[in-house]
């Protein structure tokens, strides 16, 4: 069976975060927090300049994280920055930032010119999550650092699928939050619904549907690989221990996204109910990801 799996080819030097790196992480955390504050103030005050500065600071924080990941992986001679929980969490923040700036970019302009540019709220929704994950990186430094000691690429693939699925579930959850905000604004007939810069309900529904589909596919693949890893099939070093907490959360997440996929075909359950379920699913995914980052055992 070993031939079915990719060989373990990557070096894995232990690179526990240093105090200097912690300093950079803290600086990025501060920049993200100030960025969120300015972006929020700019949103409330309708001050685009304030928002641009806020986003600029958040971008600077993300660039610091990215540089840190590259630095650490060059030192550790790693090809993929998911071999310890410190890198994995920072990578998650950077990828969420990528999602954020992509969404900000595509929702900038309305179709009718007289309404002026849209005031996107996506950063206000996503930045708190990024700040929480950045805080988790700080917590990892103070006592939770784990090197996963991957012995082959399948383990990395397993975690990469989980990471991507979590990111996509974050996108679905952001879409869900925006859907609920937009729906509420439209029902309350608020001006903000027009000028607030949220994407249309239809677009948000499509975003949720696509994200849910890919989350389910990636979770299924990740689960299959995880089951094989757990059975010790083709894994260097024998069966991998999987905690009950992780297993339960992973199964629950897979089930929720399965349900979300199925109710696409039940027209009665669309809109708000799907949005709430997407947010619940993301909560489970995030919990699974956090549990994975804190597990003591390798490869889980």
């Amino acid at each position: 069976m070993t031939s079915l799996f990719l060989p373990a080819v990557l070096a894995d030097l232990p690179i526990a975060p240093t105090p200097g790196q912690l300093g950079w992480v803290l600086l990025a955390l501060v920049l993200l927090s100030i960025g969120l504050g300015m972006s929020w103030a700019g949103f409330v005050e309708r001050n685009p300049r304030l928002r641009r500065v806020g986003r600029g600071l958040a971008l600077a924080g993300l660039l610091i994280d990215l540089a840190l990941i590259l630095w650490r992986n060059m030192v550790g001679r790693r090809a993929c920055p998911i071999q310890d929980n410190f890198d994995s969490v920072l990578l998650f923040v950077v990828l969420l930032g990528g999602v954020l700036f992509y969404l900000v970019m595509i929702y900038r302009r309305p179709m009718l010119p007289e309404a002026g540019p849209r005031r996107s709220v996506i950063d206000v929704v996503l930045l708190p999550l990024m700040i929480a994950m950045q805080g988790m990186a700080v917590a990892i430094y103070f006592g939770g650092y784990r090197n996963f000691k991957f012995t082959d690429l399948w383990q990395q693939l397993h975690l990469a699928f989980l990471l991507t699925a979590t990111l996509l579930s974050a996108a679905a959850a952001v879409g869900a939050i925006m859907y609920l905000l937009m729906n509420r604004a439209l029902r309350r007939k608020k001006t903000e619904s027009l000028l607030g810069g949220l994407p249309s309900l239809e677009r948000l529904e499509t975003l949720m549907q696509h994200a849910v589909l890919w989350v389910f596919i990636l979770l299924t693949l990740s689960a299959v690989i995880g089951m094989l890893l757990r059975a010790g099939v083709g894994v260097t070093g024998g069966p991998v221990h999987v905690s009950l907490a992780k297993l339960s959360l992973a199964v629950a997440s897979w089930f929720v996204y399965g349900v979300l996929l199925a109710i696409r075909f039940v027209p009665r359950y669309r809109g708000r109910s799907v949005a709430w379920l997407c947010m619940f699913g993301f909560g489970l995914m995030l919990a699974t990801y956090v549990v994975v980052q804190w597990q003591r055992t390798a490869g889980g």
């Binding site: 009718l112 007289e114 309404a115 439209l186 669309r270």
Partner: protein
């Protein structure tokens, strides 16, 4: 003549009251005729749109009605207690009334600042009043000045550019629900200018499928042909609702035609697709309770106000320019009105001098009976020229005193009347 106005608009009266006192064209005609029958020496005009109902009257200075009687007349026309209307109606007189109409026509008082639709509505109100035979020289001049004010404001300030109209606001809200209109069906129920403007904006967004529902099959066909759409009669409304994604209603029916029960009934057949209802009719066509149905969003004309007002704030500079033009025009009109008010004084002055001349000629001519006819004619001509020259300067000064830069006309007129003992009929 005095000018009066009593009215309410989207700022002073909720939609529920505005729809109670709205007039259609026939009702306008009836009301105007009834009014001038009741107050025979008055001029009257009614502006009734979805955002306002205003009653303009010009009447002799010492004649009824007063503004409260206007409110009572409007209340009586719709069998509403006058007290209900008095709470929501504003009343203006003379210069304020003239300023108000010019402000309305120039869309400075509109929900959508700078919109041009109101110009057509004021023109139509004037046409209806002309048709009913209830406008005279004062309201005619006032309307003409109001329309020229509007034109100046639009061309000289650019107030109508870069604005949000009701139609574009409705389209913007539609964009918050749907992202792609190419596969959406847009339905218009009833035919009205604002409804068609809204439909235009939705078609601009890419809507390809248009349904036109109307009581009159002919009008539905004509409108459908314009948009390459499909015409349907009103009795197939349920079927149309099943197919439509965006519905624009602007019928003149007195009761809602799209009820919550009707919408709830078609949702299953629609597979619970979102439905966006834009009700720009007054009285409303869509029952407010429809929003309790999931995935149904409904906006009426008042719901668009916040958006429009938010947009208005950003164009405050143009409003200042528009106000300047407005004041110039108001002053011009008031000068004309004052000059017109001096007509009886000037007429009395001329008549007084002509009478004097006639009296003196009557005394003189029998005494000059021996003179040849040519000399007698010269004497008559001399008296005529003398009276004309005596009249010329006082009349010129009096007229100039009514101009925009001077308001001394009334004082001069009184002095003239006292100096010459003139008997002036101010109501003439």
């Amino acid at each position: 003549m005095r000018i009066l106005i009593a009215g309410c608009n989207h700022k002073t009266a909720p939609l529920a009251i505005r729809e109670q006192i709205a007039f259609d064209a026939e009702a306008v005609d009836r009301a105007l005729k009834a009014f001038v029958t009741q107050y025979p020496r008055s001029e009257a005009m009614l502006v009734s749109t979805c955002n306002r109902v205003e009653f303009y009257v010009a009447r002799p200075a010492h004649n009824p009605p007063d503004p409260r009687q206007l409110v009572a007349f409007l209340a009586d026309s719709h069998s509403i207690p006058p007290a209900t209307l008095e709470r929501v109606m504003y009343q203006h007189e003379d210069v304020d009334a003239a300023r108000h109409l010019m402000s309305v026509a120039g869309s400075l008082d509109s929900m959508v600042l700078g919109e041009t639709q109101i110009l057509g509505q004021v023109r139509e109100a004037f046409r209806l009043a002309q048709q009913a035979g209830t406008v005279g020289p004062v309201l005619t001049r006032l309307c003409q000045d109001a329309l020229s004010t509007a034109k100046r404001i639009h061309t000289e300030t650019g107030l109508s550019t870069g604005k949000l109209s009701v139609a574009s606001v409705a389209a913007q809200f539609a964009q918050q629900i749907f992202s792609d209109f190419r596969d959406k069906t847009v339905m218009i129920v009833g035919a009205g200018e604002m409804g068609e403007l809204t439909l235009d904006r939705l078609v601009e967004l890419g809507a390809k499928h248009v349904l036109v529902v109307n009581r009159s099959r002919e009008r539905a066909d004509a409108l459908a042909a314009r948009y390459h759409g499909e015409a349907m009669e009103l009795d197939r409304l349920d079927e149309a609702l099943t197919r439509a994604d965006v519905v624009v209603t602007s019928t003149g029916t007195p009761h809602p035609i799209i009820t919550a029960a009707k919408v709830a009934g078609v949702m299953k057949a629609r597979r619970y697709r979102p439905l966006f209802l834009i009700d720009i009719a007054v009285p409303r066509d869509v029952e407010p309770e429809v929003t309790s149905v999931q995935n149904v969003y409904a906006y009426n004309i008042d719901d668009l106000q916040d958006v429009v007002e938010a947009n208005a704030g950003s164009r405050a500079g143009r409003v200042v320019d528009a106000q300047f033009i407005l004041e110039q025009q108001v002053e011009g009109f008031m000068a004309w009105l004052r000059a017109r008010a001096l007509g009886p004084t000037i007429a009395a002055f001329c008549k007084h001098l002509a009478d004097l001349r006639a009296d003196e000629l009557e005394w003189l001519m029998p005494k000059l009976a021996n003179l040849p006819q040519r000399e007698r004619d010269l004497i008559e001509q001399f008296s005529h020229r003398l009276v004309s020259k005596v009249m010329h300067d006082p009349v010129r000064v009096l007229t100039e005193a009514c101009g925009p830069d001077s308001a001394a006309g009334d004082v001069y007129a009184q002095v003239l009347a006292q100096l010459f003992g003139l008997k002036v009929d101010e109501d003439e």
